[in-house]
Amino acid sequence: MPASKLADTSLPHSVSKINSGGAATRFVRQALIIAEKDLRSELRNKEALNASVSFSIVILVLFSFAFDPSSDQLQEISGGLLWMVYSFAGALVLNRSFAREMQNDCLDALMAAPMPASALFLGKALANFALLTAVEIVSLIPFGLFYDVHITEQIWPLLLVIVLGTWAMTVIGTMFSALTVNLRMRELMLPILVYPMMIPALMACMTLTSDLLSGTPLKGDNLIWIRVLSGFDIIYTALAVVFIDIVLVG
């Protein structure tokens, strides 16, 4: 097919596909198209996925030298360990989220696409969330095996905590990935800004996970931490959606 004909047919088709339907449907569809694009490109080369799974296993092995892996104390700190692994491994996925668009000026093309920056942000956040959750569930298995932690005992509440905590990490990580995308010292600035910002969410996740892994069901005082986590998710999702336009466009 000649190049001119390709351009004639493909561009209007994709634009009309993105922009059809009501405002809300259109927004969701735009976000899903971005998420699909990110997931497809990641699943094709699996760069961040492979790196973060291997990295999380490396950290799990390193932790075994830091303390006695067979001690009773392990149950108390297991939640902390798990979320340290998640936050370090997650950074590998999140850091690349916007930086990967720098090649060939893809970010400029995305900004010029007929969609709001918030749809672009939510699409990227959804893709990162899916990738991070996959990495976390995969690394949960070696964690259970290596450290003899009973992950199945409270599996559903544990999955709820993982989902809420991962969304918190994703929103902050994706937002700051966008914020630092044009900086000289991007790799240095991201961890300095992101980790202190995530502390309330990580604190809640660590407390909840330690309790769940030691067999305590989700009730009483722990419900407060679920509220902290959900509140953190809602507040920062709203802030990110409002401010992403200022960060990316100006």
């Binding site: 900086l183 600035m189 960060v247 100006g250």
Partner: protein, 227 residues
Amino acid sequence: MRDKIMYLLGAVFAVLLTWDLYKIFILVPDEANQGAIFRIIYFHVPSIFTGFTGFFLALIASGLYLATGNLAYDAFAASVTEVALAFASVVLATGMIWARIIWGVWWAWDARLTSMLMCWLIYAGYLMLRRAIEEPAQRARLSAVVSIFGCVDIVIVWKSIEWWRTQHPAPVLSIRDGGGMAPGMEAPIYFNYLALLCLAAILVMVRMRQEKVAREIDSLRRMAHAY
């Protein structure tokens, strides 16, 4: 005019501080349980008040910058954050000295100490971010967003302290329903807050003048390159 205001504030600061020092060291007796070391509260608490006043003003200035695009608000936000961070450092330092004497350790991983340290780290990150960006408008825009995100984060953490077990002494000031201090012992805290606010205002004014000069030099350099 600006110089006159600065000298005036300096004079108020000097008078207030001298009067406060007299009261703290001569008039106020040693605390029954803690002895002389309790006097550190007269600098610890006013410093945290001053620091948080600064962070709050930085939040407002950041919001105003995003609303108006006026770089003067950005200069104010940057200056006030720097000065507030200095006061936050004083809070951490005085708290640690007090903890060494009373608790026997320099640091305890208590919720309030941890959150104060986190607050310090967030604003240190903010200042580092400012250094990493050359272009003034981009720097102002991104750091304003970080300032707003950081402020919200601090509110969440401050709330979560009430749900977490804490080793830090409960509030003693009557304005926070503590009522744990005699009126004569509590008053110098507020006067010291006023004194430190004057000092902070002077430092912010000096810092803003630096920002202004830096902007002028930058624009002159750009003009020179253009020729």
